[in-house]
C-alpha cells in the first residue's frame, strides 16, 4: 500500500496502458502490433524535438532562476505582468502547490489580474513542446503561444476591472 502511494499519477497511467497492451497482445495480437508500429512512427519523429526542448530547458534553468525572476521582475507594474507571464510558463504542476504562493503574492501587491495572468500562462509548457510541434508545427505553436500571452494579459486587465467593480 505504501509502495502504491509512491507511484506518481503519470507512472500509474503509463503502467495501466502497458498492462492494456499486454492484455491486448494475448487477445488481439494484430491490433496490438499495428498500434505499436503506429506508436514507433510517432516516437521516431518526436525524439529530436524532445532533445532540442531538453537543451532549451537546461539553458532556461541555468539563466532564469527564481532569484533572477524576483530580482528583475518584482519592481513595478509592467514588470509584474512580465513576472506573471514568465512565472506561469515556468511553473510546474500540480496547481494546488502554487495556491499558497499566489496567496502570498497577492499580499505583496499582486492583484487578481496578475494571478489570472499567471494561471493562464501555465497553459504554455516547455516539456510538452515536442508533441505540440510534432502535431502542429513550429509556426503554429509560436503564434499560438504569443497570442495566448497577449490574451493572458488582456484577461488580467479584464479581471481587475470586473473584480474592482463587483467587490
Amino acid at each position: 500500500m505504501l509502495q502504491l502511494k509512491k507511484i506518481s499519477g503519470a507512472w500509474f497511467f503509463f503502467i495501466l496502458i502497458v498492462t492494456l497492451y499486454l492484455f491486448l497482445f494475448f487477445v488481439n495480437p494484430s491490433l496490438c502490433i499495428s498500434s505499436l508500429i503506429f506508436f514507433r512512427q510517432i516516437l521516431i519523429k518526436i525524439i529530436p524535438i524532445f532533445l532540442l526542448v531538453w537543451f532549451l530547458m537546461v539553458i532556461a534553468n541555468y539563466f532564469i532562476t527564481p532569484k533572477f525572476v524576483f530580482k528583475y521582475f518584482d519592481k513595478n507594474g509592467v514588470n509584474k505582468w512580465l513576472f506573471a507571464v514568465i512565472g506561469g510558463i515556468l511553473s510546474e504542476d500540480p496547481i494546488y502547490m502554487w495556491y499558497p504562493l499566489l496567496a502570498d503574492l497577492r499580499k505583496k501587491g499582486f492583484n487578481y489580474g496578475f494571478v489570472a495572468c499567471f494561471l493562464y500562462n501555465r497553459a504554455i509548457k516547455l516539456p510538452v513542446l515536442p508533441a505540440a510541434i510534432y502535431y502542429f508545427g513550429w509556426k503554429y505553436i509560436l503564434i499560438l503561444a504569443l497570442i495566448m500571452i497577449i490574451a493572458s494579459i488582456s484577461q488580467g486587465v479584464i479581471i481587475n476591472k470586473l473584480i474592482k467593480e463587483k467587490l
Binding site: 499566489l102 487578481y112 494571478v115 501555465r122 502542429f136 495566448m148 479581471i159
Partner: protein, 132 residues
C-alpha cells in the same frame, strides 16, 4: 550548469511516462476508431468543441495529441485550437477548488473570461497563421 541539467531532465522525466502512455493510447485509439468518428463528434461547432475542452481537466500534452489527431481527421484548425486552448485555460471541474483558494468570484470570472478568450485566441491564431 549541473543543477540546470538535473532540473531539466527531472522536468521532462516527470512528463515522459504521461507522454509515452498518451501516445500509446492514441496509437491504439487511432487504429480502433474509424476516421468518421472525429468528424461526427467534433462537428465544426466551436462553442461545443470549446465546451468539451473546458470540462476536460487533463494535462496539456493530452490535448495536443488529441487535437493533432482531430486535425488529421479533418476537423477545422479553428475548432481544434479552441479545444486546445480551453483544455488548458478553462477548468470548470476545478472551480470549487479554485474558489476555496482564490475566491468564488475570481474563479467564476476567470473561467468564464478564459472560455470567451479561447474563441478569440483561436480565430486570431488561425488568421495570423494564414497571413504569415
Amino acid at each position: 550548469m549541473k543543477k540546470a541539467i538535473i532540473k531539466a531532465t527531472e522536468s521532462l522525466g516527470k512528463v515522459l511516462p504521461l507522454i509515452l502512455g498518451t501516445i500509446l493510447l492514441v496509437s491504439l485509439l487511432t487504429i480502433i476508431i474509424p476516421e468518421s468518428f472525429y468528424t461526427r463528434f467534433f462537428n465544426k461547432n466551436i462553442i461545443f468543441d470549446s465546451f468539451i475542452g473546458s470540462i476536460s481537466a487533463g494535462t496539456p500534452i493530452i490535448s495536443y495529441i488529441l487535437g493533432g489527431e482531430m486535425l488529421k481527421q479533418g476537423i477545422s484548425l479553428i475548432a481544434v485550437t479552441t479545444f486546445l486552448v480551453t483544455w488548458v485555460t478553462v477548468g470548470f471541474i476545478q472551480i470549487p477548488t479554485e474558489s476555496i483558494a482564490l475566491g468564488r468570484k475570481f474563479a467564476i470570472l476567470r473561467n468564464l473570461s478564459a472560455f470567451v478568450l479561447s474563441i478569440i485566441v483561436a480565430f486570431t491564431t488561425v488568421l495570423i497563421l494564414n497571413i504569415v
